[in-house]
């Protein structure tokens, strides 16, 4: 098991390298000068030249890249051009916010999506199945920004139940923290639940038609035991894969939702950084997100092994 994980980590290194080269070159292709964006309305030529030298923006791109990789290997992701703060500190500030939002969103997605998917499969072609499908379809079709604004207007402005936006660190005030995150997590989770419901339904349906399920039923196993123990456990593998990918996605930040609920997470950080051409921040956040994806995939693989005895035997 450990050698399996070790191998996967080794494979991740070239992936990260390729991603970093890709992002670095793509950024340089963008029109727009970071220093010009930074120099503000007055665009003083002297300041522009000084900043360009200071951040080595006059060097050839490969030199800039090698310098960046060199520092990154020593744990230094550079300094934000906009705020003058170390990128690592910015990421450190945003990561807990993004993780909290991701965890709460995926929790919403699980709670809504999986039971709905199971029900839809078990009650296939009944009213319940159709309702679940309609709910899922609306979850997928309603844009996040619209749902977000509507929720704010209803829940915060009209009813006054939850704060309209903002963020409270979890360890400062857990209750308030959860209150501020409820609406954004629901908005994100609602869309994911739809995807999750559809996948759970089809995975369940394919297992439900298997021979061993008929055997279980013939043995007189209760229907819920058939569904949950025999069917769901076997249907869960594709759901795990999907969940890992969805969670990785959430770790990359949710731009629109963060913007609407004013949550200081990765999404907002990276969008601001792209618009001001704050290269070091874009680069740092993308790298961090890529690591997040790789870790999530690794976790999914480990789960496979834990959930599926056949794979354990193959190791």
């Amino acid at each position: 098991m450990y050698s399996y994980i070790g191998k996967r980590v080794l494979v991740a290194i070239p992936t990260l390298l390729i991603i970093s080269i890709f992002v670095f070159s793509l950024q340089k292709l963008l029109p727009g000068d970071p220093v010009l964006a930074l120099a503000g309305e007055d665009r003083d030529p002297q300041t522009i030249e000084y900043l360009r030298e200071k951040y080595h923006l006059n060097d050839p791109v490969p030199v800039q890249y090698i310098r960046w990789v060199g520092s990154a290997l020593q744990g230094d992701l550079g300094i934000s051009l906009k705020t003058n703060q170390p990128v690592l500190k910015l990421i450190g500030d945003k990561l807990p916010v993004t993780i909290q939002l991701a965890v709460m969103s995926i929790a919403f997605a699980f709670v809504i999506g999986i039971p709905m998917g199971i029900l839809a499969a078990v009650k296939k072609n009944t009213a319940l199945d159709y309702i679940a499908n309609v709910v899922a379809l609306s979850g997928l079709s309603i844009p996040n920004f619209w749902l977000g604004i509507m929720l704010i207007l209803l829940v915060s402005v009209k009813l006054g139940w939850l704060p309209a936006s903002g963020y409270q660190p979890f360890f400062d005030d857990p209750l308030r923290s959860i209150q501020t995150m409820l609406m954004p997590a629901f908005v994100l989770g609602n869309a994911l639940a739809a995807t999750l419901m559809r996948h759970t339904r089809s995975a369940m349906l394919s297992v439900l038609s298997a021979d061993y399920i008929r055997t279980a039923r013939a043995k007189g196993v209760s229907e819920w035991a058939v569904v949950l123990q025999h069917t769901f456990r076997n249907a869960v593998l594709p759901i795990v894969t999907l969940s890992a990918l969805l969670f990785g996605d959430l770790l990359a930040g949710a731009v629109l939702t963060e913007q609407i609920f004013t949550i200081p997470g990765f999404g907002k950080l990276i969008v601001d950084a792209v618009f001001t051409r704050d290269y070091a921040v874009v680069q740092g956040v993308v790298l961090c997100t890529a690591v997040g994806f790789i870790v999530m995939n690794l976790i999914a693989d480990v789960f496979y092994v834990l959930l599926n005895p056949r794979m354990r035997a193959a190791l």
Binding site: L30, P31, G32, D33, P34, L36, A37, L38, A39, G40, E41, D42, R43, D44, P45, Q46, T47, Y50, L51, K54, K82, T83, N84, Q85, L90, G92, D93, I149, I152, L153, S156, V157, G160, P163, A164, S165, G166, Y167, P169, F171, D172, Q259, I260, F261, T262, P264, K268, L269, D272, F275, T276, R277
Partner: protein, 500 residues
């Protein structure tokens, strides 16, 4: 990591230290500020935060007069080349460092020499600044520059504690120490900036708020929703489309004022100009004549902005009445196009991909089409627009200016030959001479004469044409009283009260 753990404790401590009935004001801003160092920062919202955090040598009154703040009186001498200022006594910075002439000399010199300083061009007329007494400073200029006072009413005149500045260097902005009515408590990037009342403030009897929290909320709808839900007490830059809703809400107060800035169309008339509209001023004049400024402003800004045709709004004392906002005249425009030898003129216009700007330009596009201009709009995000326009890689561009208190700041740097913001790439030695003369004379009548003379040439050459002036719009809870709108868009908290 240690700082991360320490900060919440610090905040909790600061909160506990506040008196029981502490009045907190929560203000929603459109963006997050950049670094909070007056010498290095660039953002408009940063200036709003400074208004509470850092006092300036002089301030700007709502009728745009320069009024005392840390300097109590001043005088020009030596033909406008020397400015002597008397300073307020008994003022302290938030860290207890006394404010005096040495502090002014240190701060102004820092803004002039710090390599990262973005105030250098604003202060470039200053030769040296020296203490001529414990509470008196003398600015000696390279050439007369009456705009210096207005410059000192903004970031270049903000006083920071020399003790903190020496200790923190370029990182001063992470923990700013000034002498304003409120002192810095904490900042969470893209989330909030918290300030609390400075108990030793020289004008503390006029400060009725104990704690101010600034929250950046970029979406205008969400900002307003937060105000209505009671999570905010005040918001800036309310969208024009929300103005009616705010006015109709019995719980909210609406305040607005026409700002110092402008909305303009730039024509690239420089060496790279190869287009008919760049080469022939008759086409530019026709383009301008074909725009119904009144209608465009009414539609896009729902009556909150005013139409204009100069870098000064029609309400400004600097507005040249010889060039009133022109009524739309399609026939005359068509005749000018014909005179220039064209039937249809192709024009590519670069605009930012902001919905309001695009809406405005689509209206202009259809208006000028009637006069013979086939405008194709090229929408890009702001950084790219900036790059293209600075490099002169465009035909016609659309850009805004936030405005400066002194008229010089709204015209000189755009239309003099070597100016940094001359994106029209316009160069006319006569205009240079007039605009330089306007900056040198302390006599307002002489300045006005020079601006009017320059305006006559500019309206004829037309390297830029102005279309209007937006308003700053604020909305606040009815409990908040005493706020006075100022055309510079800042939120001054002296006199502002919040009922329980």
């Amino acid at each position: 990591m240690r700082t991360a753990k320490f900060l919440p404790a610090l905040v909790a401590g600061a909160l506990l230290a506040l008196p029981a009935a502490a009045t907190e004001l929560k203000i929603g801003l459109q963006d997050d500020a950049d670094m909070l160092d007056p010498a290095q920062s660039q953002t408009f919202v940063g200036r709003i935060v400074y208004t509470a955090l850092c006092d300036k040598l002089v301030d700007l009154s709502p009728d745009l007069k320069i009024v005392p703040q840390l300097a109590t009186e001043w005088a020009w001498s030596d033909g406008g080349k020397v400015l002597t200022m008397k300073l307020r006594e008994g003022v302290k910075f938030h860290d207890g460092t006394p404010f005096n002439a040495d502090a002014v000399v240190y701060d102004v010199t820092r803004s002039m020499t710090l390599p990262e300083s973005k105030r250098k061009s604003e202060l470039k007329s200053v030769e040296k600044v020296e203490a001529s007494g414990e509470y008196e400073v003398k600015f000696t200029l390279k050439s007369p520059d009456v705009t210096l006072l207005a410059t000192l009413s903004d970031r270049a005149g903000m006083m920071i504690s020399p003790t903190a500045a020496k200790a923190e260097g370029t990182n001063f902005g992470n923990k700013p120490v000034c002498s304003g009515p409120f002192k810095f408590v904490e900042r969470v990037q893209q989330d909030r900036i918290v300030l609390e009342k400075f108990q030793d403030y020289w004008n503390k009897d006029n400060i009725f708020i104990d704690k101010v929290t600034y929250l950046p909320i970029p979406d205008t709808t969400v900002r307003l929703a937060n105000l209505r839900a009671g999570d905010l007490d005040m918001i800036e830059r309310v969208a024009a489309s929300d103005a009616a809703a705010v006015k109709a809400d019995p719980n909210l107060t609406y305040q607005s004022v026409v700002n110092l800035g402008w909305l303009a169309i730039y024509f690239n008339v420089g060496d790279k100009a190869t287009t008919p509209i760049g080469k022939d001023k008759r086409l530019r004049q026709a383009f301008s004549l074909a725009i119904d400024r009144e209608a465009a402003n009414q539609i896009v800004y729902e009556g909150t902005s005013v139409a204009g045709d100069q870098p000064f709004s029609p309400q400004s004392p600097w507005f040249d009445k010889n060039f009133p906002v022109p009524a739309r005249d399609v026939e005359k425009a068509k005749a000018l196009v014909k005179e220039a030898g064209f039937d249809r003129v192709p024009v590519e216009m670069i605009v930012t991909n902001n919905p309001v700007t695009q809406q405005m330009m689509q209206i202009v596009q259809s208006m000028v089409a009637e006069a013979g201009f086939d405008v194709s709009l090229k929408a890009t995000e702001f950084t790219t627009l900036l790059d293209e326009m600075t490099a002169g890689n465009y035909q016609v561009g659309r850009s805004d200016w936030s405005g400066r208190a002194d008229p010089d700041g709204n015209i000189h740097q755009f239309l003099t030959c070597k100016a940094a913001l001359n994106d029209a790439k316009y160069c006319n030695p006569e205009v240079d001479k007039l605009l330089n003369a306007a900056r040198e004379s302390p006599d307002e009548a002489v300045r006005k004469q020079n601006y009017d003379a320059a305006m006559a040439i500019i309206q004829d050459d037309m390297p830029m044409t102005w279309i209007g002036h937006q308003s700053w719009i604020w909305a606040m809870n009815k409990k908040v009283t005493g706020f006075v709108p100022n055309p510079d868009g800042m939120i001054r908290l002296a006199g502002v009260k919040k009922a329980d």
